[in-house]
């Protein structure tokens, strides 16, 4: 009797997220779309009638024209590729180092006690302030960008993972103790899985800041990249190009974060009752 009841409950819980996930197109969405169209139309009108100089604001049609131009004449692609390479290499390094150090700290709390103050000190330095030094050490090319991206991302990943591991539910630790798990088993089988949600939130945050870091450093001094292109467009007073690059960078940032969220979903969704 009780088993029957429970089974019914289970199927109900199974279907619920799917139902919640299906969003209906409501009147709020309609108003949002209208607002956006109105805004774009207004931009178009004020620029076309010359009420605001096109040096300051580009009209939507100008932005589209400029986009088509730099995509088709091959201006954009090398810069886009360079920026993506810098971000991905720096981010991958930050993920690897952040997670490995987090693992070591969890395994050897004494190592954390020793390293923590140094890491906290480096983390406290505004990363943008050490860019001049990084350029001095690594040049204005690829390497200095990778290092900056790394510094922008690594601490978020490290500290989120370590904090997640520390917040492992005491109940799970008691179970491990009852079944006589050793330290290694406790860390790998219980503390690391417990840290995953927090680790992924670190990975998502770091993905967004990684892109910020690379664009900033490319604007300061570089031979290429989207930040460099943006800086160049500013010098040429090409507002349409600036608008387009800002939009492009935003889209890349959103996609980057979404990819991480998808990986998180693939890893964790089976056992989490919330849908992210």
């Amino acid at each position: 009797m009780a088993a029957e009841r429970s089974e019914k409950q289970v199927t109900k819980e199974d279907t619920r997220p799917a139902v919640v996930g299906k969003k209906k197109f409501s009147w709020i969405n309609a108003v949002q779309v209208i607002t956006l169209i109105a805004l774009l139309a207004y931009m178009q009108v004020v620029v076309d009638t010359g009420r605001i100089s096109k040096v300051f604001i580009a009209s939507p049609t100008m932005i589209v024209q400029e986009a088509v131009k730099i995509i088709t004449d091959g201006t954009l692609l090398p810069h886009l590729i360079l920026t993506l390479e810098e971000v991905l290499v720096g981010y991958a390094l930050a993920v690897a180092v952040g997670i490995i150090v987090a693992l070591l700290w969890t395994l050897f709390p004494k190592l954390e006690a020793y390293m923590d103050v140094f890491c906290a000190a480096i983390m406290a330095v505004p990363k943008t302030a050490i860019l001049p030094l990084l350029i001095l050490w690594f040049g204005i090319g690829f390497k200095s960008k990778v290092v900056l991206v790394f510094l922008f991302s690594v601490f978020q990943i490290l500290y989120n993972t370590v904090t997640g591991a520390k917040q492992t539910n005491i109940k799970y630790l008691k179970v491990a103790k009852v079944f006589k798990a050793n330290r290694l088993q406790t860390v790998f089988q219980i503390m690391i899985p417990s840290a995953l949600p927090s680790m992924f939130s670190g990975l998502r945050l770091a993905a967004a800041t990684a892109l910020t870091g690379v664009i900033f450093s490319e604007m300061q001094s570089a031979k290429g990249g989207l930040g460099y292109l943006l800086y160049e467009a500013q010098n040429l007073l090409n507002s349409a190009r600036m608008f387009f690059i800002v939009i492009l960078v935003t889209v890349i940032s959103v996609l980057f974060v979404q990819v991480i969220a998808l990986i998180e979903f693939a890893v964790c969704h089976k056992w989490q009752n919330k849908i992210h």
């Binding site: 009780a2 009841r5 429970s6 289970v10 008691k174 009852v178 079944f179 899985p193 964790c268 056992w271």
Partner: protein, 260 residues
């Protein structure tokens, strides 16, 4: 033959405002082989603390715990613990949760599979092996928690308010299943609960702990064979007696504050 022998257990702890609290005072308890003992008492009296000391999960400040005349200083695979809310790992499937203890104990794979099949069937979890705990109701989770403990085949099972988080109907079913397991597997069970009716329905012997500092205030033998009926007059009488003793215990210790 006694299986569990706790001698003169003392426990102090620091409360949040820095005061030293005397939680358990000179508690001596012997649980015989195959016996089902329930511990009841007012909330905050240290029932769970005592259980965790017996399990080897908590250090204590005096006295000893023996399992078959062997001094216990840490957790033991001979002593299984079932926790209040099952405490399953959310990232493991039900089957892998039940197998957790056997994996650590390096039980051979075929033997693991054999026991898994047996206990999954016994606990009515067939069809749920590959579900995750978040997909199960509270009662099913607790079944899996019990299966995880039984799969290790411990001599003694300690249970810390295992049915307090499930609804009333499920609780009744689980209680009946527990009695079956107790009779079938001849396990020695030490069961902590705040539900007096549950205690008298399940146990051979009920221990009443007093408010802090906890001492054993009273012991009751429940001389009624299984299967028992919930509305049995004798059980109701014993339950009423325990209730009366609890309020009496409160009155005599009026100067003590028992909130946490």
């Amino acid at each position: 033959m006694p299986t569990i022998k706790a001698k003169n257990i003392e426990k102090y702890y620091q409360s949040t405002d820095g005061e030293q609290v005397h939680a358990l005072k000179d508690i001596s308890l012997t649980v015989e082989d195959g016996e089902f003992v329930a511990i009841v008492g007012p909330s905050g009296c240290g029932k769970s603390t005592f259980l965790e000391i017996v399990a080897g999960l908590l250090p204590h400040d005096g006295g000893e715990v023996y399992l078959d005349d062997q001094l216990i200083t840490e957790t033991s695979r001979e002593i299984g613990v079932v926790f209040q809310d099952a405490s399953l790992f959310p990232w493991r499937t039900i089957k892998r949760n039940i197998a957790y203890g056997m994996e650590l104990a390096k039980v051979p794979k075929e033997e693991q599979e054999k026991r898994l099949t047996h206990y999954i069937k016994m606990m009515n979890l067939e069809g749920f092996e590959n579900k995750y705990p978040a997909q199960l109701s509270g009662g099913m989770k607790q079944r899996a928690g019990i299966a995880r403990t039984l799969a290790m085949n411990p001599k003694v099972i300690l249970m810390d308010e295992p049915f307090s988080a499930v609804d009333h109907l499920t609780r009744c079913t689980l209680q009946e299943e527990l009695i079956k397991i107790h009779e079938l597997e001849k396990k020695t069970i030490l069961f902590v609960t705040h539900d007096i009716n549950e205690a008298v329905f399940l146990a051979d012997r009920v221990i009443l702990l007093s408010p802090r500092p906890s001492v054993i205030q009273e012991e009751y033998q429940i001389k009624l064979p299984y299967p028992r009926h919930r509305d049995d007059e004798y059980l109701s009488k014993v339950a009423a007696m325990i209730m009366a003793d609890i309020s009496r215990g409160r009155k005599t210790d009026e100067d003590i504050e028992y909130f946490i």
